[in-house]
Amino acid sequence: MPNLSYHRPSSIAEAARLARDDPDAKLLAGGQSIIPSLKLGLLAPSAFIDLGGLPELRGVRLEGRSLRIGAMTSHAEVANSPEVRKHVPALAHLAAGIGDRQVRNRGTIGGSLANSDPAADYPAAVLGLGAEVRTDRRAIPADSFFKGLFETDLGRDEILTAVEFPLPERAAYVKFPQPASRFALVGVFVSLTGKSVRVAVTGAGPCAFRVAALEQALAKRFAPESLNDITMPADALNADLHGSAEYRAHLIPVLTRRAVTQALA
């Protein structure tokens, strides 16, 4: 591991200043992706700015018709939160299925979203629920947050502070795991809020994305049968040892049907 500086700011403002002053510094959340990358020599930042000392970034709060989850809230905290389990059980289920126990105790929702791993689970929920990503300077709608492979709308020194999830009437997340890593080979998050249907997919593209054809079919009738004749084009989908683009294209409607069935259960 390279030598690097370590900062543990005590306010968001201090964290922002540190990030602004050192273009080669990296914000450190739970460290579940960045530390392995460092050990593998894929990354050599000048400094870590550890957000772990900022309690205001942590916790789950119900605010009217939305659920505010602080960026530094761990996956385990989301999975076990009574508010999340009551109001968006699909999100608690998703968080409970991330990585293993150790990862869930260290990894955070903000870290996962800022990293935008193509196979991460949270992006599907953020996009699938139409959440809003809050930073130290603005609110970013989910639809404009994910930009590409490990790429988001966040500025280099912008600090993700919280995510606001509107409460859906129905929602479900179904993940088909890559056998070795158990990341999502394909994961599908569906939600129904009023007349609005969202279908968000992770694992299949460079970043999470919505599928308009599936949403439109479900908007007509929110039922698994509505998807019976829909096929997905394989173009531009991910392909690797564990799944061809065609296989991923096949799985998206299959898993969406299952998610709808679960959401209706």
């Binding site: 088909f176 056998p179 890593s181 040892l241 564990h242 061809s244 296989y247 096949h250 299959v254």
Partner: protein
Amino acid sequence: MSSTRAPLIGQPVERKEDYRFVTGTGQYTDDIVLPRQTYAAFVRSPHAHAHLRSLDVAAARGAPGVLALYTGKDLTSVGGVPCGWLIHSIDGTPMKEPKHPILAEDKVRHVGDPIALVVAESAREAKAAAALVEVEYDVLPAVVNPATAAASSTSVHDIAPDNICFTWAVGDKAATDTAFARAAHVTRLSLINNRLIPNALEPRAANAHYSPASDSYTLYVTSQNPHVERLLMAAFVLGIPEHKLRVVAPDVGGGFGSKIYLYAEEAALVWASRRVGRPIKWTAERSESFLTDAHGRDHVTTAELALDADGKFLALRVDTIANMGAYLSTFAPCIPTILHATLLAGQYTTPHIHCQVRAVFTNTAPVDAYRGAGRPEATYLLERIVERAARELAIDPPELRRRNFIRKFPYATPVGLTYDTGDYEATLDRVLELADVRGFPARKAESERRGLRRGIGYSCYIEACGIAPSSIAGALGARAGLFEAGEVRVHPTGKVTVFTGSHSHGQGHETTFAQVVADKFGLPLEDVEIEHGDTAKVLFGMGTYGSRSLAVGGSAIVKAADKILAKGCRIAAHLLEASDEDIEFRDGAFRVKGTDRSKSFAEIALAAYVPHHYPIEQLEPGLNENAFYDPPNFTFPAGSYVCEVEVDPDTGAARVDRFTACDDFGNVVNPMIVEGQVHGGLAQGIGQALLEGCRYDEESGQLLTGSLLDYTLPRADDLPNFLVQTVKGTPCKHNPLGVKGCGEAGAIGSPPAVINALLDALAPYGVRDLEMPATPLRIWQAIEAVRGKR
């Protein structure tokens, strides 16, 4: 004095060694830190195949903490990594045996091939310096696919321009061909036995130390056979006498075969320790393990089975290409030949068998024995083709097997083995009952109500264990004997230390062997300690692999214990004033037959070490005996497995729902340990069938499954609760314990059962074939491929 108690043999005694393992007080190679310890890192090739144009080591030599740096040029005075088995081709020529340099000389031949050794004050500094070595490569095309290696215009080694190491065969080709000509039915099958990466929990590690005071070396190393390591290292690599090298294999965290071999890293460390003048330690990182541990399996096979109109097997014809990788690992040539082709009779009376094996070099890591070693490859092809024949002939698969079972023993197969004993019908009958095969249709219907396809598959395996009669092994190309050695040292107090040449790296020898010796002498278990893994303590040993430890190592201990009892009888005769013939050892005491006069085991031990009243003219004092045991034959464990899978046809995901195993291991010393061994073997076998597959990029030769993110090891939730039953069945007839070996059975018997079950589940779709590992992607593709044809 009598100490009558129930025998320990047959009891599920808790493992003595587990206390230290579960409390973290085991002592593994990496735990050993010697005074003035230094650390090593290796510079490794990023290319599968390249000439080394130049090496610039100046920056690395000058890096902080660096003590020494060596390249292939520094090691010209030492030998290469030796191969312990010589195979001859059909035409009588010896196999091509290219030099395997300790550090690459002019060429690198697989990704991870070591080029330079850096020694530094810390592991971190060694690694950082290794990254500063600048190597210029002339990259060559890589030979990756074993199926096409012989046709490649690229040669891995100059001495094998066509990449063929040997072309070997066993069996009567003419008789086999004749039998095919009169067959009523011929079943054909092409398959790949997928390449596996061992992944022992503890990575390979070594710590080498040279003492100028005694002009001798000590090597602590993750080895399954420290004496073999010493022999190979001293005689073939360093050219030093064996008594100047001590090899210690302390606690070792799993091997599965991968720690049998002498590896280049260990040799480099021992060699360098003298030059550096300080002990050097190296522990592989997991990614180094993936690249450089000897891999397993990797066969490309076609098989044909000839049957008569009644389903009797007439002949079997097999053609296999076996991947040796870039260099010949210690036992590599014997795995696809002696341990594979000779097993092709299986449990059946097939009168004519011919098998040709072509071994090829490729630009991949060396391939050698991995849990089962050759026997899983034989069992997989045989049990796949038998089940396919049953399907083609519309005969119930167990029934087809039954029609062909060997029933008379001893049975000489047409491929060179003689089975001493067995009862295949018994294990098949039992497993069909245990697995509730009758209930399968109801379970299948229930699965279908949930949209899932259920299938059932069978496998009846045999393996040759207790490796091996030295004379037979020698005739087949072994460059070593395959006996085992043991020593029983009775202390003056009557407590016992047993030294064995077997090595436990998870098998539980400290318990099992102690049970055997405690029963032999009528002692409590805690009075017996088992020592292993140190050439300075143990007289000799050939190590642990091939399910040989109890059958061969245990037999050596029994022989030594018998010598102790024989001597004890003579001492007792003197003390009890009886003739030698009137003394018997029974219930823990030496007794004058037909009287109540006796001496306890401890009394005799004390008398031997305090020989005040002792037949000193006829008998040496002390009570310590050695024995070497060379088995007269292999042992032949066998069993029947039934697997039920559920397949989700929409995703291709498959799950083993039920797995039932009935094994005949002969006598069983510790049924709990045996059951654990079967569980572990099944996990690895199911892993091979569904999850594990080493993949190299066909063009570049890069390892695509180079970490646990892409190489799928089985996890607990990938496996069902196993239903495992061991029957005493037919004890081995030629070793004193009547034991056969159990360590590899699960890994040997299970892959075909799983794939047969999958093919049963997918038969309604018209799927006839599936490659291992049968991942969800492959299952979905298989269904789609058939759909596409319709």
